[in-house]
Amino acid sequence: MKLVIGIVRPEKANDVLESLYRNNIRGLSLSRVQGHGGETERVETYRGTTVKVGLEDKVRFEIAVSEDFLDQTIDSIVEGGRTGEVGDGKIFVVPLERAVRIRTGEADQLAVTPIDGAQ
C-alpha cells in the first residue's frame, strides 16, 4: 500500500476531487497548506510595514491506496490539478505499512476501501 500526498492549487481542488471520484478513489483527506516553489514572491504593505510573502495557498490531499490503484490515483490528481503554469504542485508517494479502519479495527487493504453509500 502507498500513501499518496498531492499538493494542488485550491481552485483545482474540486477538479481533482471529481476526477478521483470518477476513478473510484473515494477515501481521502485534504487540508489547506501554504507552499513555496518556483512561483514569484509578492510584496504586501500594512501601514509602514512591508513584507515579502513567498507562500501560496495550496490544498494537500492525503490518500491511502492499495498498489493497484496507485497509478490511477496519481493520474487523477495530475489530470484534475494541471493548469500548465508554474505552481501546479507536486505528488509524493510514501510507502504505507499498515492501514486500520477505526470503526471495525480491520487492517490493511480492506481499510483503504470505503464502504459504499453505507450509513
Binding site: E44, T50, V51, K52
Partner: protein, 416 residues
C-alpha cells in the same frame, strides 16, 4: 434660527448618521458573500464611495440634483456647496446644510450598492471612476427627476425614500454593469460560496438599523410621515422575513441564513418608496408580497449566464419596483395626507408610478451601459485573469484580509 425645529433637526442628524453607517454595513454584508481572497477589495468598494462620492456630491452632484435648474437636471447654483448654509430650504424645518449632508449619505450608499454586480473581478481604479461618473450622470439626474423638481415630481410620482434613484437605479445599473464587466472566470464552473455568513447576517442587521434613518428620516422632520415610515420599516421587512422562511421551507424544508439576511434587505427595499405613503397593515402586506418576485429571481439568476454576482437587481431593482407600484394601488390620504392610490379611488396614481418605473429602469440601465463603455475605452474594466485567480486583495491592494506572520519576511526598506 427662524423656521428651524430642534426636534426635527435632532432626528435628521441621527438619520444621517444612521444612513452613513449603512455603507460600512453594506461593505460587511457584501464582503461576506465573496471568497476570502476578495474580502478587502469588496469592502473597499464601499469605503471608496464614502470618500469619492462625498466629494463628488459636494463639488457638483448635489447641485445637479437639488438646484432648481429645469425639468431634466438641476443647475450649478449649489456647486462647491455654494449657498448651502444654515437657512432652511423652502418648506423645511432643518438647516439646508443638514439636508445636504443627509442626501449625501444616500448618494454614497447607492454608489456602493453597484459594487455588488462586479465583485471579485473589476479593476479597482475603474470602479472608482465609474462611481464618480455614475453619481453625476445617473444618480443626480434621477434624484432631480423625483425630488429636485424634475418631470417625475411634476407628474405626481410618489417616492418616499428612493425607489427611483436608489433602489431601481442601483438594481438596473447593476444589471448593465454585470453584462459589461462580464462573469467571473469561475462563475458557473465552480461553487462560489460566501466565505463568512456571519458578516452577511451582521451586515444585514446593520443595514436594517440604518434603514430606519433612511426611510424614517425621509420625512425630513420628526413628524407623522417619519413615524409612519419608521414603523413600516420594521413591519415590512418582518413580513418579508416570514414569507421568505416559508418559501425556503417550501423549497427545501430548511430555512437558510443567507436567505434570512437577503429577506431583510428585500423587505427594507420594497418599503423604501412606500414607507410614508401606505398604512402599517399594507406595509406588512407589501413586505410579504415583495418577497415572492425577488425570491424567484434570486433563485433563478445563478442558473443563467448573468453573473450579477450579489443580486442587486433581484434585491434592489425588483424590490424597489414592486414598492413603487404598490404605492400606486394602496397609497392612502388618511395616512399620508398627500395622495390616494387605485384602491382608494385614484387610479391615475398607478399610472404615474408606472411611468416612474419605466423612466428609472431605462435611464439607469442605459446610462450605466454608456458610462462603462466609455470607461472601457480608456482602461480595462477587469483585472487580469491571473490576478482574478490569485484574488483581488493581494493583487489590487497588496494585503490579505487575515494575514499570518508565517512566511511573511520583513523588508527593511532603508537597510536598517
Amino acid at each position: 434660527m427662524a423656521g428651524i425645529d430642534t426636534g426635527d433637526t435632532a432626528w435628521i442628524l441621527v438619520s444621517t448618521a444612521l444612513v452613513m453607517l449603512m455603507t460600512p454595513g453594506l461593505g460587511l454584508f457584501y464582503a461576506g458573500f465573496v471568497r476570502e481572497k476578495n474580502t478587502l477589495n469588496t469592502f473597499m468598494m464601499s469605503l471608496a464611495a464614502l470618500g469619492l462620492v462625498t466629494i463628488t456630491w459636494a463639488v457638483v452632484a448635489y447641485s445637479l440634483a437639488f438646484d432648481s435648474g429645469n425639468d431634466i437636471i438641476g443647475g450649478f447654483g449649489h456647486a462647491f456647496m455654494n449657498g448651502v448654509d444654515f437657512a432652511p430650504r423652502d418648506g423645511q424645518t432643518i438647516p439646508h446644510l443638514l439636508f445636504f449632508v443627509y442626501q449625501a449619505t444616500f448618494a454614497i450608499i447607492t454608489a456602493a450598492l453597484l459594487s455588488g454586480a462586479v465583485v471579485e473581478r473589476m479593476r479597482f481604479s475603474a470602479f472608482l471612476i465609474f462611481i464618480v461618473l455614475w453619481t453625476i450622470f445617473v444618480y443626480a439626474v434621477l434624484v432631480h427627476w423625483v425630488w429636485g423638481g424634475g418631470w417625475l415630481a411634476d407628474l405626481g410620482v410618489l417616492d418616499f425614500a428612493g425607489g427611483v434613484p436608489v433602489e431601481m437605479a442601483s438594481g438596473f445599473s447593476a444589471w448593465a454593469a454585470a453584462l459589461l464587466v462580464g462573469a467571473r472566470r469561475d462563475y458557473s464552473r465552480q461553487a462560489l460560496l460566501p466565505h463568512n455568513t456571519m458578516y452577511i447576517l451582521l451586515g444585514a442587521g446593520l443595514l436594517w438599523f440604518g434603514w430606519f434613518g433612511f426611510n424614517g428620516g425621509s420625512g425630513l422632520a420628526a413628524g407623522s410621515p417619519s413615524v409612519l415610515a419608521f414603523a413600516n420599516t420594521l413591519l415590512a421587512p418582518a413580513a418579508t422575513l416570514t414569507v421568505w422562511f416559508l418559501l425556503d421551507m417550501a423549497r427545501d424544508r430548511r430555512v437558510t441564513a443567507v436567505g434570512g439576511a437577503t429577506a431583510v434587505v428585500v423587505g427594507c427595499v420594497c418599503i423604501t418608496p412606500a414607507a410614508g405613503f401606505i398604512g402599517p397593515m399594507w406595509a406588512i402586506v407589501l413586505g410579504g408580497v415583495a418577497a415572492v418576485p425577488s425570491y424567484a429571481l434570486i433563485m433563478w439568476r445563478p442558473r443563467t449566464r448573468l453573473d450579477e454576482s450579489l443580486d442587486v437587481l433581484g434585491a434592489h431593482g425588483i424590490g424597489g419596483l414592486v414598492g413603487i407600484l404598490f404605492i400606486g394601488i394602496f397609497a392612502q390620504t388618511t395616512w399620508n395626507g398627500v395622495a390616494d392610490g387605485l384602491a382608494y379611488g385614484s387610479p391615475i396614481q398607478l399610472w404615474y408610478q408606472f411611468v416612474a418605473v419605466l423612466a428609472a429602469t431605462t435611464y439607469s440601465f442605459v446610462g450605466t451601459w454608456i458610462l462603462l463603455k466609455l470607461i472601457g475605452l480608456v482602461m480595462p474594466l477587469r483585472v487580469e485573469q491571473r490576478h482574478e485567480a490569485l484574488g483581488l486583495d493581494v493583487t489590487e491592494h497588496g494585503e490579505e484580509a487575515y494575514a499570518r506572520g508565517e512566511g511573511a519576511i520583513l523588508v527593511r526598506e532603508d537597510g536598517h
